[in-house]
């Protein structure tokens, strides 16, 4: 079995007001030397599949069909054997 760790993030060209608000708070807390704070999503999915290549293809398809909006987001993932 594999676990897919999927990271969905906003494309670099997309303004992230949420990230900006979090960054402003961090600066207020004294973390002065920070920049480009971006907030995304982390998704874990367990796949009942023993072939890593198939698990890879299934995860990719799930990202493309539902988990990612390609207008504004991009993604990457890792497969972890469990």
């Amino acid at each position: 079995m594999f676990k897919a760790n999927i990271y969905v993030t906003l494309k670099k060209s997309i303004f992230d007001p949420q990230g900006k608000a979090a960054e402003n708070s961090l600066v207020t807390l004294g973390f002065k030397n920070i920049r480009n704070t971006r907030i995304g999503k982390f998704i874990e999915i367990e796949l009942d599949e023993n072939d890593k290549n198939i698990a890879f293809e299934i995860t990719k398809e799930m990202c493309e069909k539902l988990l990612v909006n390609f207008n504004i987001e991009t993604y990457r993932f890792e497969l972890e054997e469990i």
Binding site: I14, F15, P17, Q18, A21, L66, L67, N69, N71, I72
Partner: protein, 229 residues
């Protein structure tokens, strides 16, 4: 004219749409359940506002895969009239019936407020009862209404007169200070290139009779009925 109003889990404006169409405009109106996979047998389909499927993952992303949406896509492909209001607009972009994405408001707040809109043109089946350039009052209530599309898409929307409504002030000024949510070019509502699918964030069904202080929205529904007759 026959109208169908789709109900997804957590749609919360379907009854308002139903009331405006059936009681105020005397139209033959029925609800369509999101699990229905029967062919659409109405002249118009409305995807109303709300928080379908709790807005989980992304607004409209889960509703887009409800069985009824396959039928709505088929219906729109044959030229059927489809309107997505607020969450309905988000579902239409997720389903690919309209371009772009509704992102989180740049102010990071849920905005529930009266809002002035500029009617960009009255060539559309959805806007013919207005005059081009009219300023109307139509409330907004959303957290994710910040319309975004890439530059190429925006240029096409502008060039093809697909932008029907823009956020403005009471004098019709369209600029950053009259933009409530950060939408590109103050976009509040667009149609597809064929002109039979409309998506808008403001709520015309909440501004359709004087008892609600404003009835500017009813002309949108009257436009459709007039086009049909």
């Amino acid at each position: 004219m026959k109208f169908g109003v789709i109900i997804f889990p957590a749609s919360n404006c379907a009854e308002d749409c139903y009331y405006v169409l059936s009681s105020l405009l005397n139209q033959n109106t029925k609800y369509l359940w999101h699990k229905s996979s029967e062919a659409i047998d109405t002249d118009v389909v409305i995807l109303s506002g709300g928080f379908s499927f709790g807005d989980y993952l992304r607004c409209g992303a889960i509703a887009r895969f409800s069985p009824v949406m396959e039928r709505v896509i088929e219906f729109a492909g044959k030229g059927g009239l489809v309107i997505g209001i607020c969450n309905g607009f988000q579902i239409l972009t997720e389903s690919g019936l309209l371009p772009g994405t509704l992102m989180k408001n740049t102010c990071l707040k849920f905005i529930c407020s009266p809002q002035y809109l500029k009617v960009e043109n009255n060539y559309s089946v959805f806007s013919k009862k207005y005059n081009s350039g009219d300023v109307i009052n139509c409330p907004i209530a959303h957290n994710e209404g910040n319309y975004f599309a890439d530059e190429n898409t925006i240029n096409k929307l502008e060039k093809n007169n697909q932008i029907l409504f823009r956020y403005c002030d009471e004098n019709g000024n369209v600029n950053d200070s009259t933009n409530p949510n950060g939408s590109v070019n103050n976009i509040a509502g667009i149609i597809n290139i064929e002109g039979n699918v409309l998506g808008l964030m403001p709520h015309p069904e909440r501004s359709s009779e004087k008892i609600l202080l404003c009835d500017d929205g009813i002309k949108l529904f009257k436009s459709i009925i007039e086009s049909y007759n």
